[in-house]
Chain length 219, copies 6
């Protein structure tokens, strides 16, 4: 039995980043953790059409993995297919956005979200409204960087720290969430720079999945 | 130019019901109103997987119609693909659930929703949370009838009236929404029985679409 | 039968602005649209006493127009007398603030309001709370200009664009509403400058009224 | 200097009831408390048009009383003219609905409102939304009695207790508010019958006014 | 290193029930799980004074355990001392109420809480408000049973099922939480009887603690 | 009979400041007002452990004073022990934070809170969530000054005015609350500087207590 983490975009590079982020958890997990790339997904999930377009192949892939699965993690911050997966699968299913938010709610009173693109913010806020947790949201702000800029790690960290400081000082955030799979590498430096806890959503979701797996014998 | 109403399930019978519901509006619409059946959809949209599964064919169909479209109406109470359509299309796009809720907000202070299936309620509440209008929701209650029972119009009306009375008396609804495309036929009798305005979501959405078409010359 | 738009202040100049704003919609409206000035109103509605003081003459005027009315639009952003008109009239009654908000809710996730006076903001927020839509409000900010300054169109546009940019960048608005009848002339330039949709409340309300008129044969 | 309690309807009988309700507070008030009837008001305030129609005469009456006023209380559960009075008067102005709600928020976690007429409930809920306190509302239920029935005190008490029990047991109210000026006589028996604190809005508002008068030397 | 579960009341019987509830999780936990009784606590935590009175001894006990602790779980549904513990301890600290709610938010859209005593409900609702999750609460209803009755397991289950059915059918709950440490034994039968998932708060908190322990190497 | 104001920290200097703040109210109070220092409290209440740690001695002290008490005021902006005191005492019990918020809700639509320490903000927001009034909160911002700086009254006022201006201009506050016992001396200058009403929480709570005392003969 395995915790299956599915990256619903087709970027193996992103999947490798997710794998690196959660790798330290493997020694303490009661079951193996496998990270998968959804070949049918787009290179990146950037629009609502992408979000909904990956649901069918995601459900298909999960169905194949179901028998050997302890739990599923959907590793995209839009939580594509989360509700559908929960209807279909008999296993616990976690989304990284939902998990990050629920985790952040135990670390601070108002969480700030660091999004990559401005266009994602409305989608996130819709989702947080559906989750009923807007009273806990400080703000969701984009770092608004292009692909080329994101390749420069130093510059990315600077920008994350700058927007994070705005979330803390203007909007009152006392905990931050990086609103994207694949930014775990910046977490320690960001916590250091801002003096606030920072949640990586993939790590939060895998932690939740491990908790669910441990809970299974009680069912 | 035409207002295109797309029923995202494959039931021609449902599309005919929608067409009948909005037919009286044709004489006052500045453009024709055409109702379409999405052949690629399931016979009925009952699960979250259905909701997301119809988005891709819906987007494809809408893209074909785009050039001749004044506006689009998505005629399923889960508003499948609404956000995606709005990203993709240059025309106004209305969902029947969103339109019904916004319409109801002008007719009363707390709306009640009459759902068919119990399993739809959580999906609706998630959506109303995403819309940020839960303070206006009295309650969403299922009439919980099977297909065979729904074929009996008298019994369906009785059940709608019974659950509607609970929405009014226990939950404080002062306006009701039938949470499904294809129940417009019951609207007059239900209003009569309960003494409350009742919103048919397809009619509300087409009315909104007509308003948007009339607004176009101001853009 | 006619859609009657009533400007509840006594300024014919304002009524002319409203008429110009909605004029392009006339060719697509199923009925004529007439704009009226409430002679008994104050020159401008600036206080809560003004808001409530116009209700009685507004009701009287509407009663005279009732027989020939398809619908009423109350053309002041405080929606004076909206609830009272709905109790009294058998016709659809739309307020421009309510209509603008409901319209904006279909164009973005968080709307910002551009108010003229700082003193209006609390009144607007009270009203948005009564509407139950505060989760959709980014912020309501005043441009805080006096009558003399407002006469300078270039300066007014600059100030609207400046405050609009704050609503977008600091408060996360992805759609804006001009919180006043009579600013429709700035809408295209403001949309261009900010890259966001801008809702003129009079246009939104007349669009809604046209939709309601088209819906009437279904009743 | 005097606390002026203004009943905005023209019923002297109602004013006498208010006077009786607050009479025991006179010995502990630092200033006299005078109850007034607004002759220009309707016999009862039952519609939104009534609510707004009394604002102008209320403002006029208050202006006459301003010089000798320590504070004003508007003694109708719709708080007509409260915002307008606060703009106009230099004295503390209290509304009985607002005061009752704020008082109830110190006595329990969820308040229930006992309204007389079903038609008032939507108006109350709009107002509670404007106050931003809907999370504290258990429910607002009408006792739905006509004038003749209300004349029968025993029957009125029975009905208040019956609806109050529903507020407590179905809706989770742990404190009740009688949503009308003039029901103070039922308060002790209702508290006894239900085991919950009951707030009379006129008493709550006069208590708040006395507090404000005592605060004045700090200004 | 150990996960320390502290029952803040002095009842060893309750601690044994907690231990039995979480025992099946031990084989999958990466560290041992120890359950402790707070000798200084009252026999049961029934009042707000109890809740706050146990904080000091709880902090003292936790300080003694800190060096050997992987995480702490506070095993009382009022989460006494949760915020204080988080300020003081360098370990993850979970409360069973918070954990149950966050867990339930992944299993359904609206959770219902089955409380023992009516007097606890207001305390719970205050806490859910502080958590900002009232939009996800269906209702919190007491089973209102005395100690003698609770000793009768069959009767307790019947009452839980009865009140749970009200939470489901009247209030729209699609997941339930038993609002007390020590009712895990009823969970399977209650799920069976009602067709809804039921969350035991101690199990949910220990699952969350296991997830946090697994996350530690990422810090 | 006396209104007992209890400062739950052990600083006599703070108690003297509270006494000075409320002294002008004594001539208009129907009963004497006595201010007490809780010797068992910490020098200042700065952590959640402090908040909960003072509850037991506070309850003990209040029990001694009960027989001669007309009402109690807990004079710390975290309202320590408020719910517990209300369970235990037969007298009205007011907290200064709750009283300040309820008072501010009658003076403006959105209140801003001026906190001393950044670390207090999350505690305040949790409490405002429990009160269900977050829709009325503009923001809670710290002035973030150390003890030495606070000794400089001119500098403290400058900083209060600076942060107050941010609350007004960025966050839309139209009334401010000083989030600490002992800042009443700055109130007049701050109101003057900002053009907004400023609420001192001790004054607000004593005003509410006086109102309650006046209400007692109605019970």
């Amino acid at each position: 039995m395995t915790i299956h983490v599915i990256n619903p975009n087709s970027s193996v590079h992103v999947t490798e980043g997710i794998d690196a982020a959660i790798a330290p958890m493997r020694t303490l997990s009661p079951v193996p953790i496998a990270c998968h790339t959804l070949a049918e997904g787009p290179p990146g999930i950037e629009t609502q059409a992408h979000v909904e377009g990956v649901v069918a192949p995601l459900l298909a892939r999960a169905a194949e993995l179901e028998d050997g699965a302890s739990a599923f993690v959907i590793a995209c911050f839009s939580d594509p297919g989360l509700a559908a997966m929960r209807e279909r699968s008999a296993r616990p299913v976690l989304g990284i956005a939902e998990s990050a938010v629920l985790h952040a709610m135990t670390l601070g009173q108002r969480f700030g979200i660091l999004s990559i693109k401005r266009a994602s913010v409305a989608r996130h806020v819709r989702y947080l409204g559906a989750m009923g947790v807007l009273d806990r949201l400080a703000a969701d702000l984009p770092i608004d960087m292009g692909v080329a800029e994101l390749a420069d790690a130093g510059r990315t960290l600077d920008r994350l720290a700058e927007v994070g400081a705005t979330l803390r000082d203007v909007h009152g955030a006392d905990v931050l969430i990086t609103g994207c799979a694949g930014m775990a590498q910046y977490r320690p430096a960001l916590e250091e720079a801002l003096g606030l806890p920072v949640v990586d959503p993939c790590q939060a979701a895998v932690a939740a999945a491990i908790g669910r797996v441990a809970l299974a014998p009680c069912e």
